[in-house]
């Protein structure tokens, strides 16, 4: 009798309605209730499938490589060598811009130190390591969702680490959802905002002060691009490059390329400013591999710093990222 009633429940419509009600309730639960367990459950389901996602990700990269490595206007010969040289130039340019921004930041720190005499040397030399991982999965159902890489706490990855693709393109930050072998990356286009400076594509003029490059706070548009209001005083043109200049970002991200200006429009209400639209140079989901830069902390005099297992030491923006 009891068994037949159970069977009736399992085969009847009542179970469907019970499941619908349950799903409805769970869907409306607040973040603090879901956060402790749902991400872990998702990771448990995903981990056994990583070989499949990795294989299909490699297949996708083989069939449809990212657009940055394809330039139809370029003559077809020796394109690999040209691409490698162009990437090297971009990396060196980023190193140069990073050092200029860093110098500017150090000068500010020095002023603050002199003023208060208490501030520690944040912005001084830091020990940096990098963990390389392949992009194994993207968020289903979304064009611009979370990206997963096969590097986790076992490789020294910690939440908040900067993630780079294609050498020096800032792709996003490692989110709180970090597993032993896999971690989620919040794409740069989904971060609440990124402080940047806008430089000409050929790099900044060394004779000009760093402050002459217009600053902008990039805000996501929800369409995979950013928008920002920029003071009209500085030079602005389509094709200029936005580079990270944000104290909230990891220091290794300083000077890294984020996006390219694709549109400039006047703002009627604010005549002294212009609105720009910036598109990412390369999206994380389109890349095959990514590098997570792990900042160990500020180095004291004669101190070596820790190095995580499986990570290799390198400078923040050196060529060993790829």
């Amino acid at each position: 009798m009891h068994v037949s009633r159970m069977q009736q429940f399992l085969t009847g419509k009542r179970l469907d309605w019970t499941l619908v009600c349950l799903a409805f309730l769970v869907a409306l639960l607040p973040v603090r209730v879901l956060r402790p367990w749902t991400n872990d459950v998702a990771r448990l389901v995903l981990i056994p499938l990583v070989p499949v996602t990795h294989l299909s990700s490699s297949l996708r990269d083989r069939i449809r490589p990212s657009l940055s490595s394809f330039e139809p206007s370029r003559p077809g010969f020796a394109s690999t060598e040209v691409l490698a040289l162009e990437a090297e130039v971009e990396r060196l340019r980023t190193l140069y811009e990073a050092s200029r921004l860093d110098a500017s930041r150090l000068e500010e720190s020095l002023v603050a130190l002199r003023a208060t005499s208490t501030r520690a040397g944040r912005g001084a030399l830091i020990d940096v390591a990098a963990a390389t991982g392949s992009i194994v999965a993207t968020s289903n159902g979304e064009n611009d969702g979370i990206v997963r890489i096969n590097a986790g706490t076992r490789h020294g990855v910690v939440p908040g680490s900067a993630v780079f693709i294609d050498g020096d393109v800032f792709a996003g930050l490692v989110s709180e959802d970090v597993g032993s072998f896999i971690s989620s990356v919040t794409p740069s286009t989904r971060l609440p905002s990124i402080g940047c400076r806008i430089y000409p594509a050929t790099g900044s003029d060394p004779t000009q002060p760093i402050g002459s490059a217009p600053g902008a706070v990039l805000k996501p548009t929800g369409r995979g691009t950013w928008t920002a209001d920029v003071a009209s005083a500085g030079e602005l043109a389509v094709g200029m490059v936005a580079r990270v200049a944000d104290d909230r970002m990891p220091r290794s991200a300083l000077g890294a390329r984020v996006g390219r200006v694709v549109a400039i429009a006047p703002i009627e209400q604010v005549p002294l400013a212009r609105r720009i639209e910036v598109e990412p140079i390369l999206k994380a989901k389109d890349a095959a591999s990514a590098v997570v830069v792990l900042e160990m902390g500020v180095l004291g005099a004669g101190e070596g710093g820790r190095e995580p297992a499986g990570a290799r030491t390198s400078t923040p923006l050196d060529g060993g990222r790829r």
């Binding site: 419509k13 469907d16 869907a27 749902t38 996602t53 968020s139 159902g141 989620s184 919040t186 989901k285």
Partner: protein, 193 residues
């Protein structure tokens, strides 16, 4: 229906969708394999298990698609796609008698309808969730209308991708273990025999 085959197919399709990612992407139009699996089951499996199977697929879809909160952290919210897939499947069930299943275009049409209903239900659930919990909608700062357009374009993409996917699924039909029953109803013609 063999549930083991179904679960393996769903997990494989989800993994392929997550890995292949931008391969089936044209602009903001992104096609996925998973809706074809649900529609295939909805058209072939017994009606009473279709909604349940769709809800299971919705749960897997939710696990594979975390929402990015306003502070940039990801959160898996199980539920919105569970309900959305259930509604999508419920919309496809009445089509079982109307569609000529040997025609691949009819399957694609069913997938488009399923994806459109799923998208609509997911958007409604996301708005409802943002109202109840006070958080942002997953497509913030874009508008709900633009997300609806993106999702409907995705439904068209799903329909196009359904053509090859259904070709494969139809060939694997024997291993799914769908029961095929022929019901004979008494009528004047039969009584006359």
């Amino acid at each position: 229906m063999h549930w083991s085959v179904f679960i393996i197919a769903v997990l494989l399709a989800s993994a392929l969708d997550a890995g292949l990612g931008g391969l089936f992407e044209v602009g903001s139009l992104r096609a996925e394999i998973l809706p074809s699996i649900v529609v295939f089951v909805a058209l072939s499996a017994p009606k009473k298990i279709v909604v349940r199977a769709a809800m299971l697929v919705g749960l897997v879809a939710d696990l594979f698609a975390p929402v990015i909160l306003g502070d940039g952290t990801p959160l898996v919210v199980p539920g919105p796609r569970v309900l959305a897939f259930a509604l999508g499947a419920a919309a496809v069930i009445p089509l079982r008698g109307l569609l000529y299943r040997q025609n691949p275009l009819s399957n694609s049409a069913a997938v488009a309808i399923f994806s459109a209903f799923t998208a609509l239900a997911w958007i409604v659930m996301s708005i409802l969730r943002s109202v109840v919990t006070g958080g942002d909608v997953p497509w913030w700062p874009a508008t709900g209308t633009s997300e609806l357009v993106v999702q409907f374009l995705g439904a068209l993409g799903d329909a196009v991708l359904a053509l090859p996917v259904f070709w494969v699924l139809t060939r694997t039909k024997p291993i799914w273990g769908f029961e095929t029953k022929t019901r004979l109803t008494p009528g004047v013609a039969r009584e006359g025999l």
